[in-house]
Symmetry: C2
Subunit: 157 residues, 2 copies
DNA sequence: ACTTCACTGATCAGGTTGTCCAGTATTCTC
DNA sequence: GAGAATACTGGACAACCTGATCAGTGAAGT
């Protein structure tokens, strides 16, 4: 596990808020030397704290305004991994986890409309090994995905 | 809704794979003029297709290897928004949605350990208006969060 | 046929990057 | 407490990239 301190958190905050600032400008804003910012970024990446800097694409903006969460039961004997691999082939499936509890898999899916969601679910349940799917629709995004508050909390103790 | 074409998708693919490439290098790799890449990026951002370029922080790497999904029932009369705002104050709560079905809210939470998860859940259920919480633990990340395959699919028709 | 739009290829000044370095402060180890 | 390791600062350098702008070309829509 990698240790992150308050400066790391401030650096990532800044780059999250204004991705276009360069290392030099960041060092000015944070009041540290440029080499420090550069070294911190390198370290964060090397330690795996930062997985990447990919663009955050809004699915609504590209025509998929419907988000749903599906929990799946799979047949005894079907491997989770095999089923998950088949799900990965469906582009509308954005995320898949194996979970505890009565259900086996959890996934996040998107669709162009509620009617289109049926089409996507059909693609999901047709996957070999899936026994049952239960779906709920996300009505509103109350707290958008975020990690930075946690990062700050992690630097406290 | 913004229209995205294959070139947009290729641009975002490239920047997701290699965030450090500049606009100039990207234009060379993609075989288009630099101004085109620049204009596309500006448009994608302006149209809201790209929300940002924030660092993808790995919660495991910063000491929170446990991910769980909680569904909450809230008391009749308690506003979803009020409850969600209270949840937003807990850094371990990474995401909150209102959902259809028997439950009212869905949220993603992380913790330092299974024991620590109890602490976080306690913080969640103590929020005024929450009646009941049901939690499942994510055992394995079968398909990590992704959007780019969908982006490519959206450019097909 | 006309207008609009997007792309190309080019230019320009200015700023930034990557990479060194020596000096200093802090923390850790023996 | 002494020595070693580590991290940060402030500076330097050449090479490169950015943001902005331009005229010219092709395609699409009116």
């Amino acid at each position: 596990m990698a240790a992150v301190d308050a400066l790391d958190a401030r650096i990532l905050d800044l780059f999250a808020a204004e991705p276009r600032v360069g290392v030099l400008e960041a060092s000015r804003r944070l009041g540290v030397a440029r080499g420090t910012v550069q070294a911190r970024l390198d370290r964060l990446q090397r330690d795996g704290v930062v997985r990447g800097w990919g663009p955050d694409v809004d699915t609504t903006a590209i025509g998929y305004p419907v988000t749903a969460f599906a929990t799946l039961q799979i047949e005894q004997g079907s491997g989770h991994t095999t089923v998950a691999a088949a799900l990965a082939a469906i582009p509308e499936v954005l995320e898949v986890y194996t979970i505890t509890g009565a259900e086996d898999l959890w996934c996040r899916i998107v669709a162009r409309s509620n009617a289109d969601l049926q089409r996507v679910i059909d693609q999901v349940v047709i996957v070999r090994g899936i026994q049952r799917a239960s779906t709920v629709i996300a009505l509103a995004e109350q707290v958008p995905h975020r990690v930075l508050p946690l990062l700050h909390a992690a630097t406290q103790p």
